[in-house]
């Protein structure tokens, strides 16, 4: 790789070029395979980032914080592409929808990469907007009333949120304006981070509030979460994984960048407590809302809200330990949750319904899928040996060690949520199987489902229990960035 090679931009544009290519492909299977190929190329390219020197390069910036997130995004993108090879077989898209689906998917991947890699807050904002528009398109692709309502909700709520985020970005520049000359550097995160200590605290506070509310909406933090369950439950089967696994991470990452800037100023209002409050609200609401779910995919969408809340809470606690917990939680949640969405999606296609009542006894009727799904749900519920156990352990220990009064709400929330997930796991996997639907997907789709699931679970296990030293050092470095 030549020294000056703009690897980040390559990561952004590869999927977009791929999108153009996918427009041209009319037929289903070739398109799906091409989709896989593009995603695979993107993944390989993203692996090169591990050897990237890092640092700012034009509008982009690579550091320990966004690097694992980017690699994870492309990994999940690849597995999702593989899964959707089997999934779209049952979706029965017409040509137009098929193209829309693939194009939007790749556009989304590119925007996701840009949102994570952007150094310029303005560019990051544009990227997240593009990602939002793409996700709106994907969610709406079915064209059924529920899908359209979900997409519309996503569009309006996130649109307003993003507008607020833009205002925050502008105010952020306003804070830095006295110290930076004209030119793009005024919106560069690295520059702002460096300048923050000299900026005016009032402006920084204002900027943080708007960025928090704006990007927090995309991160699905209560009470800004309303769009999330419908969007993740009504979109195409394969997309839920991406929405909950990647989009949320990008948004939370943006919030973290903002927190890093504001936190760098001694006199500014401490950003931590805001995040803790949002995190507790998300955990509390989601933990109890989980008990009323009759729709499997909505259930896990709500659990995404809960996990985002936990991550936000961890980052709110601040300090390297808690940040590590938060980061670990983000990564582990992406892996485990997308694995579960693969499993649940496939089960929903097998049973022809995503109501919990219609899915049951998977362990008896489809042992492979059933036990894999059970394991995945256990991972999402924070049971060992997966990454979420490690992160929740670290979070709880840190909370008890530094802010003992958090133990009670945190413990109750975690316990309630975990109990709900255990209920769901047994409802879906154990007991007497429900009948499959007549137009169940062909048998080979089970392979395209189980492969990704096991891959994700294996990685989640490695992340939680056996992380190679260099990666651990990387996470360590990342944990020190948000402050």
């Amino acid at each position: 790789m030549p020294a000056g090679f703009p690897l980040p931009w390559a990561l952004v544009f590869l999927p977009w070029v791929g999108a153009l290519l996918l427009v041209a492909l009319p037929r289903e299977r070739p398109a799906a395979l091409a989709n896989i190929a593009v995603s695979a190329a993107g993944f390989v390219l993203s692996l090169l980032l591990l050897w990237h020197p890092g640092g700012t390069q034009g509008w982009t910036h690579v550091d320990a914080l966004n690097l694992p997130l980017v690699v994870l995004s492309f990994l999940v993108g690849l597995t999702t592409a593989v899964f959707s090879l089997g999934a779209i077989a049952a979706e029965r898209f017409d040509l137009l929808r098929l193209r829309a689906y693939h194009v939007a998917f790749q556009v989304f991947m590119g925007a996701q990469a840009l949102a994570l890699l952007a150094d310029n807050m303005g560019v990051m904002w544009v990227a997240i907007e593009i990602a939002t528009l793409a996700s709106v398109l994907i969610v709406a692709v079915h064209g059924t009333p529920p899908a359209i309502e979900a997409a519309w909700k996503l569009f309006i709520l996130c649109g307003v949120g993003i507008a607020l985020a833009l205002f925050g970005t502008i105010v952020l520049y306003l804070a830095a304006q006295p110290f930076v000359g004209h030119g793009d550097s005024g919106l560069s995160w690295t520059v702002l981070h460096g300048l923050a200590a000299r900026c005016d605290p009032g402006v920084l506070n204002l900027a943080f509030v708007f960025l928090l509310v704006g990007y927090g909406t995309k991160a699905g933090l209560v009470p800004l979460h309303s769009w999330l369950p419908d969007a993740e439950a009504e979109g195409p089967i394969a997309i839920s994984a991406v929405l909950s696994g990647l989009l949320l991470n990008a948004a939370l990452h943006a919030v973290l960048r903002a927190k890093a800037i504001v936190g760098a100023h001694p006199d500014a209002v401490a950003p931590g407590p805001f995040l803790v409050a949002f995190g507790l609200a998300s955990l509390g609401l989601a933990a109890f809302a989980l008990w009323r779910r009759r729709d499997a995919r909505r259930f896990f969408a709500w659990s995404s809200i809960e996990h985002m809340g936990l991550a936000a809470l961890a980052f709110g606690l601040g300090g390297a330990t808690a940040n590590l917990a938060g980061l670990l939680h983000m990564l582990g949640h992406s892996l485990a949750k997308s694995a579960v969405f693969f499993g649940v999606g496939h089960a929903a296609q097998l049973k022809g319904s995503q109501k919990v009542a219609d899915i049951g006894g998977l362990a008896a009727s489809h042992p492979g899928l059933g036990w894999a799904l059970a394991l995945g749900i256990a991972a999402v519920a924070g049971l060992p040996p997966f990454a979420l156990f490690a992160s929740e352990f670290l979070l709880l220990v840190e909370a008890a060690a530094t802010r003992w009064w958090l133990i009670l709400p945190l413990g109750i929330g975690l316990l309630t949520a975990a109990a709900a997930k255990i209920h769901m796991m047994q409802a879906l996997c154990l007991g007497d199987p429900t009948p499959d639907s007549d137009d169940a997907p062909p048998a080979w789709t089970e392979r395209t489902t189980l492969g990704p699931i096991w891959l994700h679970l294996g990685l989640a296990l490695a992340l939680g229990a056996a992380l190679p030293a260099p990666l651990a050092a990387l996470l360590d470095a990342a944990a020190r960035i948000p402050g």
Binding site: F155, V171, V203, A233
Partner: protein, 222 residues
């Protein structure tokens, strides 16, 4: 530049005008009049952008001004009128919160905006501080409009106002990079919202995407 200088006074004047128009938007009882007010606000925004272009001699701001004028003062209002005629929507404003109360709420929001901006020290030049207060008020009023009005059109208008506030803030800050790009990107979203209203033929409210047969869904109504 400080108080009592022409560039500042003009900019301030324009900002104030936009705020005033936001209040007018809240005050109107007929949809048609609301759309007119929106068009005027768009015009003023364009003017403000242009003026800032002159002051900061930043040519790209003229581009922003041009786009703003074309889209917000001309295109979108026309589109909304057309929508109004074609879908023969209610011509009267339906409020979730009465006009009077919403005016009061608006005043409170402006007060809040000033309170928030007040502690900003003179380290930032006064112009920015004032403009920030104005822009923030416009943004908040726009959002207030979105949640206190029931007609889809009016909610779109609220969103537009919100976005106007954003652009006002953006152009107000001297030397803001990527102004054009950002404002355009924001505009694209607005256009898409309007487009969405067209496509889904949202007659009454955002929250009844009225494709005739759509029941209140929200997932798991048993």
């Amino acid at each position: 530049m400080t108080f009592g200088q022409l560039p500042y006074d003009v900019a301030h004047l324009l900002g104030g005008g936009m705020l005033l128009l936001s209040f007018m938007l809240l005050y109107q009882r007929r949809v048609g009049a609301v759309i007119n007010a929106l068009a005027m606000q768009g015009g003023i925004l364009a003017a403000a952008a242009a003026w800032q272009g002159v002051v900061q001699d930043a040519p790209q701001l003229f581009l922003t001004a041009l786009i703003a004028f074309a889209a917000k003062a001309v295109l979108i209002p026309l589109a909304l009128r057309h929508l109004l005629r074609r879908l023969d929507l209610h011509r009267t404003v339906e409020t979730a919160l009465g006009v009077g109360p919403s005016m009061i709420a608006g005043v409170a929001l402006v007060a809040l905006a000033i309170l928030v901006v007040l502690p900003i020290t003179a380290g930032v030049r006064a112009i920015a501080r004032e403009d920030l207060a104005l822009a923030l008020s416009v943004v908040l009023l726009g959002m207030l409009m979105m949640i206190t009005r029931r007609n889809a059109i009016l909610q779109v208008v609220g969103l537009m106002t919100l976005e106007n506030g954003l652009i006002l803030a953006a152009v107000g800050v001297a030397g803001m990079p990527l102004v054009v790009e950002l404002s355009t990107a924001a505009l694209v979203m607005m256009l898409l919202v309007v487009g969405g209203v067209f496509v889904f033929q949202i007659r009454e409210r955002f929250d009844t995407v009225d494709i005739g047969f759509l029941e209140r869904h929200r997932g798991e109504s048993p």
